[in-house]
């Protein structure tokens, strides 16, 4: 007993260090596991308040870039207005759409905090569960795919961007619907990676890559990027692709959170199949 106390006294600094270290590393690993709901991050209200105040000051620095992207989006939308079409036939028609039902709605939000130099990168958005945002929703911008909601509080939410080691996006080749997973290796914020591509797929540098859809998060056909480089090593069964991403993740101000009205249905039916298999 005496020895034990002697031992504890001698090594108390080291023991305290180890205990605290285990505690904080536990917190860190827990926060990486974004499927659990309990997290402490910038969606908490005190820090959220500070960040919102800072954003109110710094948002003016980016106004011209933000305006340019909004103007471009406006122009693209204007092209689709009825006014910009020339009527080829003067007939009267009546629309009662029984063939199509709305599947996606978009919740606009603004990025108030962001990172792009970590191994997992996040945006903080100024909209939260009060506006209908839920964990697991996809996020897109005018230029392309952004990421996935991993945490929400009442007025803020956290997006894990495509520039994350822990996130994989379902993508496909625009020209022939061959599909893969897009990954990011933590190095260059302009280049994403696709691995395990079969050698017999016809590919050329410059081919468009878009989202595949069907994963409940993104609609089909959202821009992702273009093939920048085809990396093939001798002896490997498969090749990998470097994808030049369309979105400049250092300059994203306005995003849309994708609300899939049929998500619940799809998850339920997929769950049923999985549980029958077991």
């Amino acid at each position: 007993m005496q020895n034990l106390f002697q031992f504890l006294k001698k090594f108390r600094n080291f023991l305290l260090f180890i205990i605290l270290q285990i505690f904080v590393l536990g917190l860190f690993i827990n926060s990486k596991d974004f499927h659990r709901s309990q997290m402490t991050n910038t969606s908490s209200s005190l820090v959220g308040w500070f960040i919102e105040k800072r954003y109110n000051i710094t948002k003016h620095f980016n106004l011209s870039a933000a305006n340019d992207s909004l103007v471009a989006a406006n122009a693209a939308l204007k092209e689709q207005l009825p006014d910009s079409f020339y009527p080829l036939q003067g007939s009267i028609f009546y629309v009662n759409d029984t063939l199509k039902k709305q599947q996606f709605q978009y919740i606009p939000a603004t990025v108030i905090n962001s990172s792009n130099n970590k191994i997992n990168n996040y945006y903080t958005l100024n909209q939260g569960s009060a506006q209908g945002i839920e964990i697991g929703m996809g996020v897109i911008s005018d230029n392309g795919v952004i990421g996935q909601i991993i945490d929400v509080s009442e007025y803020y939410s956290i997006v894990m961007t495509v520039l994350s080691d822990d996130i994989k996006v379902n993508v496909k080749l625009a020209k022939n619907n061959e599909y893969w997973l897009l990954n990011w290796n933590g190095k260059d914020s302009e280049i994403g990676q696709i691995e395990d591509v079969k050698r017999d797929v016809p590919l050329t540098v410059g081919d468009r890559v878009i989202t595949r859809g069907g994963d409940t998060q993104f609609p089909e056909g959202i821009a992702v990027g273009t093939i920048d480089e085809i990396v093939s090593e001798d002896g490997d069964q498969t090749i990998s692709l470097n994808i030049k991403l369309d979105v400049n993740y250092n300059a994203v101000y306005h995003v849309y959170v994708v609300k899939n009205l049929m998500r619940q249905q799809q998850l339920e039916i997929e769950e049923r199949i999985l549980s029958e298999d077991q």
Partner: protein, 171 residues
């Protein structure tokens, strides 16, 4: 007698806000991730014992973590330098020991002493930080590049911070 505590608390709040609201948003490229908050641990008095240093490090780290995502990472790296600081101070002790009326600042201890002291602690801090963050051995060179480039940047910020906010202690 209360004045040192008030002074250190004020520095604490100042450093956490500078780190969380300004420095964290300096994102020049993937390899630069500067940090100023280790200055709080670096400039604690010489004679402060390990347990108190560890507690300061824990609160400091968790406060900085609250401004980012990935809670606990900064705290972990700060605890490591807090634990190693007394040993390092013993290692680089001047011949006649430390004058406890002085602080380990660049003004009191001289440029050469401070730079060797700060560089070694910052290197340990950043190496631990990026290793835990990335945690992949095939990316070892990425970890090393990030560490070395960020140490240089952080060191600049920390020296600058002292010239702005610290005065030499009275002799």
């Amino acid at each position: 007698m209360n004045s040192p505590w008030i002074k250190y608390s004020a520095y604490f709040v100042l450093i956490v806000l500078i780190q969380g609201l300004v420095i964290q948003n300096i994102q020049i490229n993937e390899y630069l991730n500067p940090m100023i908050y280790p200055v709080m641990i670096l400039l604690l008095p010489f004679e402060l014992n390990v347990i108190a240093t560890l507690l300061v490090a824990l609160i400091l780290g968790l406060s900085v973590d609250a401004f980012g995502n990935g809670f606990g990472l900064n705290a972990s790296a700060t605890l490591v330098i807090a634990y190693l600081r007394p040993s390092l101070l013993k290692l680089i002790k001047p011949r006649d020991g430390y004058d406890t009326t002085l602080l380990p600042t660049i003004h009191d201890m001289g440029k050469l002493w401070f730079l060797s002291y700060a560089t070694s602690l910052l290197f340990i801090h950043h190496l631990w930080f990026f290793t835990v963050e990335i945690f992949r051995f095939d990316l070892f060179f990425l970890i090393l590049t990030k560490t070395l480039s960020s140490v240089v940047f952080s060191l600049l910020l920390i020296v600058l911070f002292q010239y702005i906010f610290y005065k030499p202690s009275k002799k």
